[in-house]
């Protein structure tokens, strides 16, 4: 078990790199021992690279990795004592389930009795006991993924367990089961876990702290609630939430926000305006219909069962509104208000607080 610190980490896959070649730029992370963390971002944002750097499969171009304040940057995965579960299940086809689970321990020269007790304990935890004697290649995808997970869990010296989109090949109805199993395991064994995913539901349900990545940078680290209520970057705004945050162009004059010809009150404290572009961010959840306010035209109402998503248009652009399914929605023209507490101004995509 270990706390993990990343200092000014940058990486490029080419050796003579320029700034444009960086897939990770200036990543700084401080993770507590025993926490559950998620790296969230779209494909190509650098999250898998970051994970492979932490596990030691890739050496970073710049920066340091510390496990419990010990610099491990130059160590390989075995020396770092980490476990990693990959996107698709990696199992040793010719071995039985038991041999698969015992493999990492055998390589570390543990005695047979030690191996046996450890393997049986983990098999019990993962509900694999009845299949221990079977050939691993005959199991279903979720069973195989459990074996991959089990190979990480059998080792008691593991500093951190890393998951690289581990539920990609699992059937939807089993995803829930496996995900809650993971959460339960985390509470039981209390090891640091890092979970990489592009699926916000997976990240938000698994992790205490979610790190949102965008184009090789960390744009925000926070609890699921923080990410939802106060996105630090417009990317977090529209990546998290369904539908995402409304990001609307606005003008700032004399400390006042002007949007669609109206003066808007926000939670941002605008002192100066030296930005190339300024935008207003408001989540669809925090917009209400009213007697007066911003005039909009209702374009479309879609009912998802629990919510209604309303597409509206005003002179400032299109605005999505989320409202309770039981509420009546005005048709044609209406007026809307933004909840000041959840309205933020973004200067060049970063929040103004």
């Amino acid at each position: 078990m270990a706390k993990i610190t990343l200092n000014n980490l940058s990486h490029s896959y080419v050796s003579n790199y320029t700034d444009a070649d960086l897939v990770l730029r200036d990543v700084n992370i401080d993770w507590k021992d025993g926490g559950a963390y998620a790296l969230l971002g779209p494909s190509g944002c650098g999250k898998t690279t970051l994970l492979n750097i932490i596990s030691g499969l890739i050496k970073p171009s710049k920066g340091d990795i510390l496990f419990d304040d010990k610099n491990v940057t130059s160590l390989n995965p075995v020396e770092r004592d980490i476990a990693q579960i990959f996107q698709f299940p990696v199992i040793y086809d010719t071995m039985s389930v038991y041999e698969n689970l015992a493999f990492p321990l055998k390589n570390r020269n543990l005695s047979d009795t030690e191996i046996d007790s450890k393997v049986r304990e983990i098999a019990e935890m993962l509900e694999l006991t009845s299949t221990l004697g079977n050939r691993a290649s005959g199991l279903t995808a979720d069973g195989k993924q459990k074996i991959s997970l089990g190979r990480g869990l059998v080792r008691s010296d593991v500093n951190v367990i890393m998951f690289d989109e581990p539920l990609t090949v699992i059937d939807p109805h089993l995803k829930w089961i496996l995900r809650s199993k993971l959460k339960e395991l985390h509470q039981k064994i209390n090891r640091t876990m890092i979970y990489v995913t592009h699926d916000q539901t997976e990240a938000l349900t698994f992790a205490d702290q979610v790190v949102v990545m965008h184009e090789g940078q960390i744009v925000q680290t926070g609890t699921p609630v923080e990410l939802f209520e106060k996105p630090k970057h417009t990317f977090v705004g529209h990546f998290i939430g369904s539908p995402g945050m409304n990001i609307l162009p606005c003008q700032i004059k004399n400390g006042q926000i002007n949007f669609a010809g109206q003066e808007i009150q926000s939670n941002s404290n605008i002192k100066k305006n030296n930005f190339q572009k300024t935008q207003l961010g408001i989540r669809p959840e925090f917009i209400n219909f009213s007697d007066k306010g911003i005039p909009v035209k209702i374009k479309r109402v879609s009912n998802t069962g629990r919510h209604k998503i309303i597409d509206t248009e005003c002179s400032g652009g299109t605005i999505k509104i989320l409202s309770n399914a039981s509420k009546d929605i005005p048709s044609g023209s209406a007026y809307i208000n933004f909840d000041q507490k959840y309205t933020y101004v973004y200067g060049d995509d970063w929040i103004i607080e």
């Binding site: 499969l57 040793y92 390589n107």
Partner: protein, 288 residues
């Protein structure tokens, strides 16, 4: 679902049927025909029953040729399969080295068989060939035209040179299809290089290796052109493998009956070994 019954559709099969008949079935049946009869030319045939089969199966000459053939195939498989896998493992996975290696590896496969035989014949000649001359110069008494051991050595070396590439290319393709995550997982599990090979690379190469072994078995078991040009089966009968012996019997001695019986026995051995080997390899596949 109702099946449509249309007997006329059989006509569509006729061209294939005729083609197969003329290029396989009829020639094969001619051989079968010869194998049960004695002929003195002029289309005069006399029924002999299974005499030729008994004669071949009991003849020392056939036993010797078969023994040499099995030994040859066994030795070249024993060398070529591990060597091929070994070379494939050391070949670069990316960069400019990939096309260079692939082209170098393909070269021997592109050379016509009789050219390979002629090349090695000259190469190994003790008085003028580079290999033969060099071996003698450093103190070996090497002469493949007179000493059976040297003839075997040269024939095997030639076959290894000619055909190991095929095993390399197949193994390389198999190795390249392994996802990097398998290697990463093995690294994390603390697997040694040997364990990575034994539990990841070898099982993942199983299908291409089955193919490689089958192809190399068939080709080497039926080898004719190269040893014919290199040694002509000699010295004596030292390198007279089945096919060389067969041609000697059929065209040299014009013993068509026994030669036909031997062809059929030869054919059934190849068929049987391939079938047994393939079913054994695939049996595990079905189970898992």
């Amino acid at each position: 679902m109702n099946k449509t019954i249309n007997q006329k559709a059989w006509f569509f099969v006729v061209p294939v049927f005729v083609l197969v008949a003329f290029n396989a079935a009829i020639p094969l049946m001619t051989v079968v025909n010869y194998s049960f009869q004695e002929t003195f030319g002029n289309n005069v045939f006399a029924w002999e029953g299974t005499r030729w089969f008994k004669q071949i199966l009991l003849s020392e000459r056939f036993h010797d040729a078969l023994g040499r053939q099995i030994a040859f195939t066994f030795i070249i498989l024993l060398i070529q399969i591990p060597l091929g896998i070994g070379i494939a493992l050391t070949m670069p996975k990316k960069g400019w080295g990939v096309p260079v290696c692939l082209i170098l590896m393909s070269m021997p496969l592109l050379i016509p068989w009789n050219v390979v035989g002629a090349m090695w014949n000259i190469f190994a000649l003790p008085d003028i060939g580079f290999l033969g001359y060099s071996l003698n110069a450093i103190g070996f008494d090497f002469n493949f035209t007179q000493q059976p051991g040297d003839a075997w050595f040269t024939t095997i070396l030639m076959d290894v040179w000619h055909w190991t590439s095929l095993v390399v290319l197949l193994s390389y393709a198999g190795l390249n299809s392994i996802q990097p995550a398998y290697y990463q997982a093995a690294e994390i599990d603390g697997a040694s290089r040997w364990a990575t090979f034994r539990y990841i690379e070898l099982p993942k190469m199983k299908k291409v290796l089955t193919l490689a072994i089958l192809l190399r078995f068939m080709d080497s078991f039926m080898i004719y052109t190269e040893p014919f040009v290199l040694t002509g089966g000699g010295p004596g009968n030292a390198t007279a493998f089945l096919s060389i012996d067969l041609v000697k019997m059929a065209l040299g001695q014009f013993d068509l009956g026994p030669a036909a019986a031997m062809s059929l026995i030869y054919f059934f051995i190849v068929l049987l070994v391939c079938w047994v080997f393939y079913s054994l390899m695939m049996k595990n596949e079905v189970k898992s």
